[in-house]
């Protein structure tokens, strides 16, 4: 696997017996000896530790005021950046002039700067995009010497608080800086599994020691990308490049909740982001298609690319599955699909699996109830 990058935890993954695969230009653990199914269930029952160090960490450091930097970022995202209070994080997406999604991201108000986390596969383009558009208002500092870990699951708080007692007081989407063995941990109470949990940015130099300290706890097991995918799918969360891309708008993707009032028509700072015309129009009038949950009626998984039909025979496809597989916690196949907007939950449709049209019903998302500590 030449030419692939490695995170600082690469050797630890090998010691833990991980199966490594190429992912977004990195050699990453897809699973450990426990296997995808048990890693998934362990995360929902106790705590899973994920290496997400392939993701991009960026600091937007204001050249003038914080407000000017926040307003500059608002020109790239259909999200209320200015309204995020110090110590709080928010979900957003970079949009393009056509109203499509360039990437989705998390950003936090860290009082004197904005901390941004973006997807591994898009990070170089995201950094270039931010440098091109934000440089008047802030320095775009791409961080390359820090690891990123996620600790997810009902026991995540208990486990992490043994090392960093202060995290127990955090609520969902809080961010904070904590000391550990003389270094700074940048912690957010968030994740990508639908479970309570944390993401921890820490210097590469201590990442292995910190990860090993967590893995030594009975609640904590290492979890790979395989289970990360099934966990986020059950939680109804989008995966960039699959459920969202440059051709899908946030409204089509059912991410309208991430567009706050201030940026909508009639809001204090309505529009003013790439693709505003289409996105505001779709918010007002509804999009033609929308991302929905899809629950296959049988046991056969319906995966990405499966075409959806309105009837068991004949007709043209009415949509396509963007993500699908087996949901270990719901113990059934689960999927997300783009279908004509307005079809009610419970609508029976048919997925073409190996030439057979199998029934599935439009289902509410998430498939698995979330357990965030609000």
């Amino acid at each position: 696997m030449a030419d692939l990058l490695r995170t600082g935890l690469y050797d630890l993954h090998l010691r833990l017996g991980a199966k490594m695969v190429p992912f977004a230009g990195y050699e990453m653990p897809v699973q450990y000896p426990m296997g995808v199914l048990k890693e998934h269930l362990h995360t929902r029952a106790a705590a899973g530790l994920f290496d997400v160090g392939h993701m991009g960490q960026v600091i937007l450091r204001p050249k003038g005021s914080y407000e000017a930097a926040a307003l500059a970022l608002e020109a790239l995202v259909p999200v209320d950046v200015l309204g995020v209070k110090p110590g709080r994080q928010r979900y957003g997406m970079f949009t393009n002039p056509q109203g499509g999604i360039l990437d989705d991201l998390m950003f936090a108000n860290r009082t004197d700067h904005i901390f941004v986390v973006v997807n591994a596969g898009c990070k170089d383009a995201d950094v270039a995009h931010m440098r091109a558009h934000l440089s008047a208002a802030c320095a775009v500092e791409y961080i390359t010497d820090r690891a990123l870990l996620a600790l997810q699951g009902p026991a995540a708080e208990t486990a992490l608080a043994r090392l960093v007692p202060g995290v127990a007081a955090m609520r969902f989407m809080d961010v904070g800086v904590f000391g550990w063995q003389g270094v700074e941990l940048w912690v957010s109470r968030s994740g990508y599994t639908g479970e309570d949990g944390f993401e921890i940015s820490l210097p590469d130099a201590v990442a292995v020691t910190f990860a090993e300290a967590l893995l030594a706890m009975p609640e904590v097991a290492p979890v790979g990308l395989g289970a990360r995918d099934s966990l986020r799918l059950e939680a109804g969360l989008c995966l960039y490049g699959h459920d969202i891309d440059t051709a899908t708008s946030p409204v089509e993707a059912n991410l309208g909740w991430a567009i706050q009032k201030a940026r909508r028509a009639g809001g204090a700072r309505a529009g003013g982001f790439p693709g505003a015309e289409r996105i505001l129009c779709e918010l007002a009038e509804g999009p033609a298609r929308r991302r929905v949950g899809l629950a296959p009626e049988g046991r056969a998984p319906m995966r990405e690319g499966v075409e959806i039909y309105a009837a068991p025979e004949g007709g043209a496809p009415i949509g396509v599955i963007s993500s699908g597989g087996f949901g270990p916690s719901v113990n059934a196949p689960v999927a997300m699909a783009y279908l004509p907007a307005g079809l009610p939950e419970g609508t029976l449709v048919y997925g073409d699996v190996r030439g057979k049209r199998l029934p599935a019903r439009i289902a509410p998302l998430p498939f698995q109830p979330t357990t965030f500590k609000r």
Partner: protein, 119 residues
């Protein structure tokens, strides 16, 4: 026991051949979550897709190793597909076939040759 290059094992049981997948195949597939079995009585030709196995990662097929008739399938696999990972060489057999001529099995690998194949 005989082995195919598609990582199936073939075991003679009276005048029938029992077919399953090897431990190596089960491990490579990962956790199996769905198995689709053929109808007993189906006539199959060598290379036909006879079963579908879906794991948490991907879908794959079991091909008919030879011409013959499917006479029995392991219905328990439909309810408990995880058996394929737990006991691939025993409880998780997939189907039993009747061959025109059991001698056709002679052309398949024995255990030593299969072990060499998977390294």
């Amino acid at each position: 026991m005989k082995y195919t290059e598609e990582h199936e094992w073939l075991r003679i049981e009276g005048d029938l051949v029992v077919v399953g997948i090897t431990e190596h195949a089960a491990e490579a597939l990962g956790d199996v979550v769905f198995v689709e079995l053929p109808e007993p009585g189906t006539q199959v030709a060598k290379g036909d897709e006879v079963c579908v196995i879906e794991s948490v990662k991907a879908a794959s097929d079991i091909l008919a190793p030879l011409d013959g008739e499917i006479v029995e399938v392991n219905a328990a696999l439909a309810d408990t597909p995880g058996m394929v990972n737990d006991d691939p060489l025993g409880a998780a057999w997939f189907f039993k076939m009747k061959l025109a001529d059991l001698k056709a099995l002679d052309g398949f690998m024995d255990e030593a040759a299969y072990k060499e194949l998977i390294g």
